[in-house]
Symmetry: C2
Subunit: 261 residues, 2 copies
């Protein structure tokens, strides 16, 4: 294996406030100022994609908006403070704490939904940048998600265009020549996480460029981030433990009805 070059990650400065209809290809091209090269991967915060796509909805209550975006409730818990945390699956298949409904940095009385189709958004931006700048770049649309079993959040890929989301090593071998049977690094999530280290939540730095993994950039027909979502039938955590216990309890009671005590 050849030595890998260093990876360099930097934020694009000078991205203006994004409003409905802003041409992100235009804005990113100008902010990059000719500084992009073949093989660069742009990690774009979903919030600006949503804003450009006009995904604001009027909502007095963020909770109502979350309910509207929810396909399936995975788990919920009411905290001692009285507020309820809901882990839900949204129409994109993504499991998260608020269905991607964002009420920070939005005008009062509105919330921002996730992009309609983040994979399509990523492909559109990648296509536009490739045509405009003549460089073969990949694009990831990122969102901040919590995790099971671990505190805090990390950025993940919810859209991808022109970039491999997995580095498939399943056919490969380790340094001893034995097959690497189960390893399939989700490089798209790793790229999103890496980019978050330079973007910063509190600043307006919604786009970062990752240079040094040109091997991951490819056809615009590559599978998108939708392929990261685990199918329900393969998912051992499709319900929270309390919710699954309650379902089982009810079924156990019903199954026992009519049985001799």
């Amino acid at each position: 294996m050849q030595p890998r070059p260093p990876l360099t990650i930097w934020p694009l400065h000078g991205i203006p406030e994004i409003t409905a209809g802003t041409d992100l290809v235009d804005v990113i091209s100008q902010a990059a100022g000719g500084g992009l090269a073949d093989g660069d991967i742009l990690v774009v915060t979903s919030k600006i994609v949503s804003k450009a796509e006009g995904r604001f909805v009027v909502a007095d209550d963020r909770e109502d908006a979350i309910t509207a975006e929810t396909v399936r409730v995975v788990a919920s818990r009411t905290l001692p403070t009285g507020s309820t945390t809901r882990i839900v699956q949204n129409r994109l298949g993504i499991v998260s704490a608020a269905a991607g409904v964002d009420a920070s940095n939005t005008p009062d009385g509105t919330v921002l939904l996730l992009p309609e189709d983040p994979d399509a958004s990523a492909r559109t931006i990648a296509t536009g940048l490739r045509e405009r700048l003549g460089v073969e770049v990949g694009v990831i649309v990122s969102d901040t998600l919590g995790r099971a079993w671990r505190e805090g959040q990390t950025d993940h890929a919810i859209g991808a265009g022109g970039v491999h989301v997995f580095e498939d090593l399943r056919g490969g071998t380790d340094a001893e020549g034995r097959p690497l049977v189960v390893t399939m690094p989700c490089v798209a999530d790793e790229l999103a996480a890496a980019a978050d280290l330079v973007k910063g939540k509190a600043a307006r730095l919604p786009v970062a460029v990752v240079r040094g993994r040109a091997d991951l950039v490819g056809s615009l027909e590559l599978p998108g981030a939708r392929s990261i979502v685990r199918a329900l039938e393969r998912d051992m955590f499709r319900l929270g433990a309390d919710e699954a216990y309650a379902e089982g309890f009810a079924a156990g009671q019903a199954a026992d009805v009519g049985r001799a005590p």
Copy 2:
């Protein structure tokens, strides 16, 4: 907020095969060759820490070793192929697919366990490098973990020394001045994920250096990666859905015994 400098991540070449008793501070110092600076963060693959600590155990059957390392079975599923996937919590609190038991790149008939105390290992390496080289570096010990709801694996922090594992923004405000109430980026996991992009599973590149987030490097007394593990009472996914359902079903049947049909 000041513009962030670019982040640069590179692998250390020339790390030799690690065996029980290898001095990792020595090996890393030599491979770095004077190229480390204050504020650098080293991400060290747990495998070489385990090897240096002699965490090999003789095991004809990897499954037996997983059982021995398991504190609590979270979920298990037998695949159509007949093999069983077990999601378990190990003595470090980490939930993963095989309790961190590694049978790749190990001598036949042996498996490699996780470091005894990865936070202590990280602190020891950070202390040694700071003393040896006179530079204030942080150290993360990383492992490859699967995730609920998402396919593939990403690298995570299982040990940390001299580096903040969370960037606590809970007291901060967004660009509109509203409080950022729930955001606590797990930067240690993001650093581990970023480093995996240059390390590569199939090569012997077990150490990467991240430069550009010196603000995250600090006291050797900072909380370790153990603080990332969510406490069981806060964990909505402490059991797999099938396992919780089965527990509920049994309880429902038992509760119904003696009730009039």
